[in-house]
């Protein structure tokens, strides 16, 4: 349950998973406290375990559980919480960023209802924002909204994981992950 607060929904995925599968609570705590560790042994046992586990739970959460074979060549292991925190924070930021214009429209409508007591039509609202400010008008305040996802606590953990990932997996260098990092950084500038 720990990771559900800031990335409200999507971490519910990881959390349902946690709750239904691992009831011994101390184990979850331990995973939480040392969420990233690099073991020196190539973990074929872990891989086999995770494969079995994903077969035991063919739910919507374990879509690609056993079908990839990267871990036999690398030595990184991540806790489930950490992984979903990482994926969730990046996914959430992009999701918020892309859907933000709708939020602006909604707020404009709400405020105008409060002021004039009448509805501002959507087309009129879009036209007005476009005329006055252009594209930027749709994204006023997006930074502070996205930053909600990047409070220090999350950020430190994310950075930590990311540095390890970049060093260990050349496969990630020209992939989505790099793109997402660049996107995230560009949001800050």
């Amino acid at each position: 349950m720990k990771s559900c607060i800031s990335f409200v929904g999507l971490l519910a995925v990881g959390n349902c998973d946690n709750i239904s599968q691992r009831s011994p609570t101390h184990k979850r705590y331990r995973q939480f406290s040392n969420s990233v560790s690099i073991s020196k042994h190539t973990s074929s046992i872990i891989q086999a375990k995770s494969y079995r586990r994903s077969n035991q739970h063919p739910s919507i959460y374990n879509i690609r559980g056993g079908d990839t074979n990267i871990s036999s060549t690398t030595s990184l292991s991540v806790s489930a919480t950490m992984a979903s925190l990482f994926a969730g924070s990046i996914g959430g930021a992009i999701g918020v960023g892309i859907s933000y214009p709708f939020d602006t429209l909604s707020t404009k409508a709400q405020v105008s209802t409060g002021k004039e007591g009448q509805q501002l039509s959507l087309t009129k609202s879009i036209g007005r924002i476009w005329k006055n400010e252009g594209v930027r008008g749709f994204f006023e305040g997006v930074l502070v909204t996205v930053s909600r996802r990047y409070q220090p606590y999350t950020l430190i953990r994310m950075t930590y994981l990311f540095t390890h990932l970049m060093h260990l997996f050349p496969i990630y260098h020209n992939s989505y992950l790099t793109l997402f990092l660049l996107y995230t950084l560009s949001l800050y500038n």
Binding site: A12, S50, F86, G95, T104, V144
Partner: protein, 236 residues
């Protein structure tokens, strides 16, 4: 920054402790109810962070940088901000620190608590239903996220509109006196009801729902792509 980190860790801890406490000391069997209770407490705590952030967001969104100010009468007396920092600075100067953190705090708490509960319960119920198997791994999280988002927004939208209107009004002070009358939540609710009846509480709902759908689609897609990379490395 430190304060936020503190609040964040408190949230995590409270959420976890609540869940564990419920698991040990109560006879509630359903995970959904436990999640709803834990989520409610998390919602209560997160309100203290969410409220100032949403306040800045709403001020940024509701400003009107009209080129022709004479035509746009609602822009004539409103402030215009360059960026978020500018906005915060203006608020601290003209309204004080207290307003930054407390303006609309109660209504935020009232909104956050049910929305968390609605979201978790809706998502959990959908994920356990047979629809999940029919849809399969890729479509289900997308669709369920959007539906859970709607289940969250539709009941709490009337609260959200009151909150937005409350936070959009400035409590600017001139010579120690308030320049304008600031309505409280109850007065806003009454005003809205008089002006538009029940229908008035749902203005602007459509873009909000569209937002929830787009947001969840994108979020889950990115989440799944990343988890696809990470899943082989997840430790048991």
């Amino acid at each position: 920054m430190i304060g936020q980190a503190l609040i964040k860790s408190i949230q995590f801890a409270v959420n976890e402790i609540t869940f564990l406490w419920l698991e040990k000391n109560t006879t509630i069997k359903s995970n959904l109810i436990k999640m709803a209770i834990a989520g409610t407490l998390a919602g209560l705590l997160s309100s203290f962070v969410v409220s100032p952030i949403e306040l800045v967001k709403i001020r940024m969104q509701s400003q009107n940088k009209a080129v022709d100010k004479k035509k746009d009468d609602d822009a004539s007396d409103a402030e215009v901000f360059n960026n978020e920092i500018d906005c915060v600075r203006w608020m601290v100067k003209n309204e004080g620190w207290k307003a930054l953190f407390c303006h609309g705090l109660w209504i935020t708490i009232i909104r956050e608590i049910p929305s968390f509960a609605f979201y978790f319960v809706a998502y959990g119920m959908l994920a356990k239903s047979p629809i999940a198997d029919i849809l399969g791994g890729h479509a289900a999280p997308l669709l369920f996220g959007a539906i859970a988002g709607w289940a969250m927004w539709i009941p709490t939208y009337p609260i959200d509109i009151v909150k937005t209107i409350e936070q959009a009004q400035t409590s600017e002070k001139v010579d120690g006196k308030k320049k304008k009358d600031v309505l409280n939540s109850r007065q806003i609710t009454a005003k809205l009801y008089r002006a538009g009846g029940l229908r008035g509480f749902f203005d602007g709902l459509e873009p909000k729902l569209a937002r929830a759908a787009v947001k969840h689609a994108v979020t889950f897609y990115v989440y799944e792509v990343l988890m696809g990379f990470l899943r082989p490395h997840i430790r048991n």
